[in-house]
Structure formats: structure tokens, C-alpha cells
Amino acid sequence: MEDFLVNLPDFGNADLRLFAAALHASSNGVVITDHNQPDEPIIYCNNAFENLTGYTKKEIIGHNCRFLQGEDRNQKSRNLLRAAIKDGEHCTVLLRNYKKDGKMLWNELMISPIKNPQGIVTHFIGIQNDVTKRVNAENELVEERELLDEQVRERTHNLEESESYLSAIVETIRESLIVLDSELKILSANENFCSFFRERYQDIIGENLFKIGNGQWDIPELRQLLLNILPHNNPFEGFEMENEFASIGRKMLILNARQMTLKGKYQDRILLAIEDITERKAIEYRKEDFINIASHEMKTPLTSIKGNFQLLEKIAKRNNDTTYLKGFATAGKSIGRLERLIHDLLDVARMQSGKIQFNFEPFSFRKLIEDAVNVLEQSSPEHKISMTGIADITVEGDFGRLEQVMINLLSNAVKYSPVEKGINVHLSMLSGYCKVSVTDSGVGIHKRDHKRIFERFYRADEISERFPGVGVGLYVCSQIIKEHKGTLWVESEEDKGSVFSFTIPLKQNQYGN
């Protein structure tokens, strides 16, 4: 207490001393300057001011406060202070000050004049508050905000770039694209849509899809599909529609649509893509036509050849004319081969255009095999075909097509096996599948050809050199078995005969694709 009083200026009043003591204990820096002396010398400072600045009283008292500014004199608030002091007014400023050790501090300074009863300023009191932490925090905040702003700008830029990238894609794509809202109003359309359907962009935007072009899009089925998308998030793909468009004529279109969502922005938009397949369909039809015509054109002369030949053979046999018996047999075989070849070629053409028809029906597996064996026994009675194993089971498949496979496998076996050696057909049942194996004792097939012989026209020359007459039958067979979700393969060694086997599932839908 003593020490205190010694350092206090004499205000000549005990109450004032108490106030002074309180100031002394304050955690803010407090200084008092004498306004009546030149250059505002400090006549009092509290402990907190010492702590704040690192200077001791004896280094402080008598100085103008500006020593705290060090070299950093170029501060705007200095002018504010000067003006306030000159006019004897109150003011608050923020200043950069420097401690004795050189460290910077942000000083939030408040100065107030002290006036005598005549209203003349006698002193100034200054209160310093070290707000370095706050200012730094604020500055950091500002910096961070600037950084954030920068990032936002960058992102926006990127977005704009990717948006223009996207729109470049959308505009170059050959499909027509439109975006619809939940009421099926057109929100946007790409260039292609407008040019293909001869619509002006400004005429269709905001219009209901079913209202544009005199309601030419108002097709109940399409309406149903589109209205189903949003409520059930139920996209559709490959909806084919043939429609008469006033501006562009009859078109075959394929439509895909899905819900579009952009997080936080929207989730009730429909992207509708429209592809014009008129040309493609026309080509398909032409191809199909060609196959049908080719089929008819090849079969017609063959019908005449076969009919005439069989009639001649029949009459010759009736007349016991044996002169041409050998010729008849050879011609008969060749006609059969030609018939099968035409059949196979047409099948290949159809398989390629996906136009082959399969009629799946339940039938007795055993009957299928027995029928095929009977056919072969009639056409090649000299070969012995034995049947082993059991498969008294009903399977689901295309009887005619599977019979074609069996006949093909059996005729190959007959063709490449010496007459004296038999052919075996073995039936078996595996879990959910039935299996047939046709074993011959023929020339056999080299391992490298095991896969190739099922390929379409695989180096036909090479294969047919080694297996004359094999044609494209095995390719057709493998496609038929594939269609039944089964497999067809061969196990064989050269000169040791071959085993051709296939499996098919007992039920078609049970083992889905």
C-alpha cells in the first residue's frame, strides 16, 4: 500500500486515492498524461501497463505514449488520436504497439479528456487493452474467409468448366435429349432434339411434352412410362415406338428415360433420350427379307430335284432295274447333304440377326434321342447305334431344334466312323441337368481343334480339309444348346474317336441367365 501511494500523483484527496488504487489493480493498462505540459507526458501508469509493455515505470513516466509505436509510425489511427487530443475529445482506436522485447501487440486504446470545472482539459486518461489474440483470430478468420472465397471461386470455375464440358457432350451426342420436370414440362432440350424434330428451342421450353408438335408425343404407353419414373424411381430403357411425326414423317424411335438427381438441388427431373432407329430397322427388315427369299429360292429347285430323283428311284426299284442303284444312293446322300447345308446356312444367318425362333415345350428326353437315332438308323442302316444309360425325364426345350442337334452329332459320328465300329449314345442325369454323349470310333480330333470346330466358319478350308462335310452344323448346334442354357463340347484324341456331349437344364427358367 505504501509503495502505491508513493508512486501515485498527489490528487490531494483521500477518496481519489481509493479510485487510484482500484486503477492500479485493473488488468487493463491505464495511463494518465498531463495535457498542460508540452507533448502529453505520462505522469501515471498502472502495473498492468508495465506488464503489457514490458517497460518499467522509470522508463515510462515523462514520455509521450508514442514510444510504443516504435518504427511503425505509419498508422491511420495516429491521426485520429491527434485530432481527439487537439479537440479534447474521447476516442477509441486500434494500434500496433511494440513491447520492450520487440514483440508486436494489438492495442485497443481508449483515451478520454479530464476537464477542470471551467471545462478546460487538464489531463488525458488512456486505457490500453491487449487484443492481439482477438485481432489475430479475426485476421485468421478473414484469411480463412478469403481462402474459402478463393476455393469457392475455383470450384465455381471448375463447375462452369465441367458444365460446359457436359453441355459440349450433350450437344454433340447424336441422340436427342430432353429434360422434363415432374409435370412433364420441357426444361431443356439439346440441339439434336430441336433439329431432328424441327422444333424451335424457345417454342418448346416450358411446354408440356404432350402438347408440343400438335400432341404427337401423346402416346398412352409413353405417358404411363414417363409418369411412373419419379414416384417409383422406375427408369425405362429400350422402349420402341413407331410414330407418325407431322414434320419428319414416320419414324421408329427407341426411348430411354431415367430420373435425374442433383444433391440438394433437385430430384424430380426426367432425362429422356431418344434415338432414331428408322434406318437400322429398315436394314434389319431387308436382311430378314433377304434371308427369307434366299431360303425360298434355294429350297424351290431342291424340291424339284429331290422329288424327281425320288420318283425315278422309286420307279427303278419297282421295275427291279438295278443299273443305277449306286448312282441313286450317291445322289440321295448328296441331296441330303445339300438340304442340311442350306438349312444350316439359313440358321446361321438367322442366328446372326437374332431372328431364330425357339419354341420351348416340355417333352420326353428319351423320345428326343430315340427319334434322332431312328432317323440315322434309317439313313445309314449299316452303322450300329447302341443306347446306354437312363434319362426317363421330361425336359423343357425346343424339340425340333434339339433333334437337329442330335441328328447333326449322330451324322457326324456316322460320317467319320468306320462301318464295323459302333456308335454309342449315352444318357445320364446330373443335378438339374440331363446329358447326352455320342461316342464314335472315328478319326478323332486334335486338341487344338476342340474349340474351333464349334466356331462359325473357323478357317473353313482347314477344318473341312480334315473333316470334309462338317460344314457349319456344329456352330449351329452350339448356338442351339447355348439358347437352352446348356453346353456342348468334345473330348477326343486323334485316331481314338470322339465323344461329343451336351447338357441342358431340365427346366429353362430355373437356371436363369
Binding site: H296, K299, T300, T303, G307, N308, L311
Partner: protein, 126 residues
Amino acid sequence: MAIKIMICDDEIDILDVTQMILEDAGFEVIAVSDSLNAEQIFLNEMPDLLLIDLWMPGISGDRIISSLKSNVAHTNIPMIVLSASDTGKQTAMSCGAEDFIPKPYDIDNLLDILNSHLIEKSNSKY
């Protein structure tokens, strides 16, 4: 009296050979190449069986069959499609034909089928 079979095919070669085959088998044959006359000839001749192609210029075989079958008097006359078309079987069945024989046919198979329909027809008569 011989059994009368009417054949209709625009392909003369096939028409000829089929006629020879059927005559050789002892049938009386009426061969018609112009499908547009087929219906009238059928009505004039009233054959026991009709063997007819599908794709023909003028009018197709299936249309001739449906037209003839619409007359109750013809329901008992077997009408059989003979065609090289792969979809021939479906077309034949949907126009009301009794059977379908694919081209090229096998003589024995052809005769078997015709005979079985003729037997069925004569059985149902009595």
C-alpha cells in the same frame, strides 16, 4: 373312282413333279399354277384333298384356304400347306389348314401324310 387331289403351286417344276408323284401313287390330280383361278377350280372340281403352296403371286395359299374353309361344305376336305417358308407351319395352322409339309419334301413322307388325312376323311364320312 380315283381319289381326286388338287395341287396349287406357282412353281411349274414343283407342280409337275408333285403331279407325277401323286399320279404314280394312283391319284387323279388337278394341277393349278395360277392361284387366282384356284378357288373357282376347287369349287368346280370338288377334290378330295387340297395341297397348296403359300407364297404365290396373286393370292397366297393361306387366304385361299381361309376362304374355302369359311364354307361349311369344305370343312371335311383336308387342306394341306406345302411350303418352303420357315414360318409356314404357323401360317398353315392359323388359316385353318389340316397340316403342313415343308419343302423339300420326301416322297414317302408326303404320301403317308396325304393318305392319313384321306383315311381320316373317309372314316368321318360314315
